[in-house]
């Protein structure tokens, strides 16, 4: 089945959710509301004619000032049997940046969603372990948002906790028996 046919099929199935189908360079994207994303994924995975059992990618995009709803979570579903790719773009508003997690269906979504949370601040409901993944736990802000400066908020100097860390190292060194504590 062609990707465009699948998109049309999906629109018939979820008429009030999906409001746009786009095609560019022979790739089809379906723009949908965020409410029923889990049902859409369930349908794509479970339908015997589609069998999109493979989540190739999951990421966020920030359309600051370009769209009324600021964020999008982009899913790339693929069927290993029929070899068709479908892109689902779920719109997430800035006021309520939450969306259902796909971890119950695709175990591989776990880290992708954590990364999306880390980089965009989008919360995934019912995610088993939603923590920051690439950045330290105490990092401020979400770097891939368009209003985050390229060089970060702290223009100069070290990472804020670095001084604490050095203090801690000094503290620990006092207890090291093999090192002369007066030397350092």
């Amino acid at each position: 089945m062609e990707s465009l046919e699948i998109a049309k099929l999906l629109q018939e199935k979820f008429p009030e959710q999906i409001h746009e189908i786009r095609e560019f360079a022979r790739q089809v994207s379906v723009i949908t509301k965020k409410d029923k994303i889990l049902d859409i994924a369930k349908y794509l995975k479970g339908d015997p004619g589609l069998q999109m059992d493979y989540l190739r990618d999951l990421c966020g995009v920030d359309y600051l000032g370009k769209k009324p709803l600021r964020f999008e979570v982009v899913y790339h579903f693929y069927s290993l049997k029929f070899r068709h790719l479908l892109r689902i773009r779920a719109e997430v508003p800035e006021e309520d940046p939450t969306i259902d997690s796909l971890v119950p269906l695709y175990a591989g979504a776990n880290w992708h969603e954590r990364e999306c949370f880390d980089m965009f601040g989008i919360t995934f409901n019912a995610h088993p372990d939603l923590r920051r993944i690439l950045l330290p736990e105490d990092w401020e802000g979400h770097p891939l948002r368009k209003d985050y400066p390229l060089r970060g908020y702290e223009q100069e100097g070290e990472w804020k906790r670095f001084a604490d860390l050095l203090e801690k190292v000094k503290e620990i060194r006092k207890n090291e028996w093999y090192r002369d504590s007066s030397a350092s």
Binding site: F24, R56, C59, H76, Y106, A107, M119, I133
Partner: protein
């Protein structure tokens, strides 16, 4: 371990931290292990120690100047990453490289596959106690890196392919030397196999370790030899052929059980297949241009002509500062098969010279996540085998 109810004694799991500076973790990977004796109860990988914000950097660079960043993803096979990047930008612009450039790119991708798998077999065997393989394997990698140096002047961070072709043509000397390599290399692979294939310690350490079924491997989103070891013949080179892969003949080796040994067999077979592809490419290599005629609108004009010819200097400056001619307003997901698995680029363009959003779907990132699933119930020493078998590079994992 659970004691019977009412007992006054309780056993607590021992929590230890491995890495981020540890030779067996293949980079800056940190693992928090919860152990009962020597059995792993829970394994929590911590990544991000090498995070450089590549995706954010890409948003602030033109399509042309973003290319060197792709070298720094998987530094064991930078050539394959370069090809993946330029291919996705080409697809966004709707252009296609000339045939000779396609063949050259296929050759260098497969060379980097061999080079990367050599690193894998060397370190993986070293982790499991087979020191000799490391020394033998590095000998062949050196040969390949010298060939890389011959074609583009650098050994590790190559930046050789260009949007719309490749940077410079390959010389006859390079092709001859590479052909000699392809004649010699299958014998060398046999050498590695004589060292470990029948080795009892190797078999005991790899068979039945880190088993993952085909269904589960697909559900976790694994790619590359890590997935194919479980018996799923998914390979981007076959499923969505790019460059010259549909013009050459090769097979995709798959495993049966999905353990460390099967993944080892898959990669060993890929050595031979890659070798076979390179041979065919050299034999079929057509003559012709290596860069698209209208690529100067995207690529920098040749250095010697910039100051001599009229109109090229403003073009050069414009390319550097504002970026190339604007791509159409759209988005594309393009994937290539790098040695580790599927490297995907999702590019959103808003019609300016810089990508609005560039997402990297790195195979190592996905493979590192499955480590928590693979290690549970095995011994600590087997966990080291599992790190080796998923073949992660943290530069790509952390981006």
């Amino acid at each position: 371990m659970e004691l019977e109810q009412g007992s006054a004694f309780k056993t607590r799991d021992l929590v230890i931290s491995i890495g981020p500076q540890h030779p067996a973790t293949h980079g800056v990977l940190r693992l928090i292990l919860e152990l009962d004796g020597e059995t792993v109860h829970k394994c929590t990988p911590h990544i991000g120690f090498l995070h450089r914000g590549t995706e954010k950097l890409h948003e602030n660079l033109t399509y042309f100047s973003g290319l060197p960043l792709s070298d720094r993803l998987d530094y064991c096979s930078s050539m394959a990453n370069n090809v993946g990047y330029v291919l996705s930008v080409e697809r966004l612009f709707g252009i296609e490289a000339p045939l000779r450039a396609k063949y050259i790119r296929t050759i260098v991708s497969e060379m980097s596959r061999i080079a990367s798998h050599i690193i894998w077999i060397a370190t993986h065997a070293l982790d499991l106690g087979a020191m000799t393989v490391f020394l033998y394997a590095m000998r062949e990698r050196e040969w390949l890196l010298d060939l890389f140096e011959l074609v583009c002047g650098s050994r590790l961070t190559t930046t050789y392919p260009r949007i719309g072709g490749v940077r410079n043509d390959v010389s006859e000397e390079f092709l001859d030397s590479l052909y000699m390599f392809t004649e010699e290399f299958p014998k060398r692979v046999e050498e590695y196999e004589t060292l470990i294939d029948q080795n009892r310690i190797w078999l005991l350490r790899t068979k039945g370790i880190g088993v993952i079924s085909a269904e589960e491997a697909v559900n976790w989103g694994l790619t590359g030899p890590t997935l194919r070891g479980s018996g799923v013949a998914y390979d981007v080179r076959k499923y969505a052929p790019y460059d010259a892969y549909d013009l050459v003949d090769f097979e995709v080796p798959i495993g049966k059980v999905g353990d460390v040994y099967d993944r080892y067999r898959c990669r060993m077979e890929e050595f031979r297949q890659s070798n076979h592809i390179i041979r065919q490419c050299i034999e079929q290599m057509p003559k012709g241009p290596i860069l698209l005629p209208d690529a100067p609108k995207i690529e920098l004009p040749p250095k010697d002509k910039v100051t001599a010819e009229k109109g090229l200097l403003p073009l050069h400056m414009g390319l550097i500062r504002k970026g190339s001619i604007a791509p159409p307003d759209g988005e594309i997901y393009s994937a290539v098969e790098v040695p580790k698995g599927e490297l995907g680029f999702y590019i959103v363009s808003d019609g300016t010279g810089k990508p609005y959003r560039l997402r990297l779907r790195a195979p190592s990132f996905v493979h590192a996540s499955v480590l928590s699933r693979l290690s549970v119930g095995h011994l600590v020493a087997d966990m080291i085998a599992n790190i080796g078998t998923i073949d992660i590079v943290l530069g790509e994992c952390d981006r």
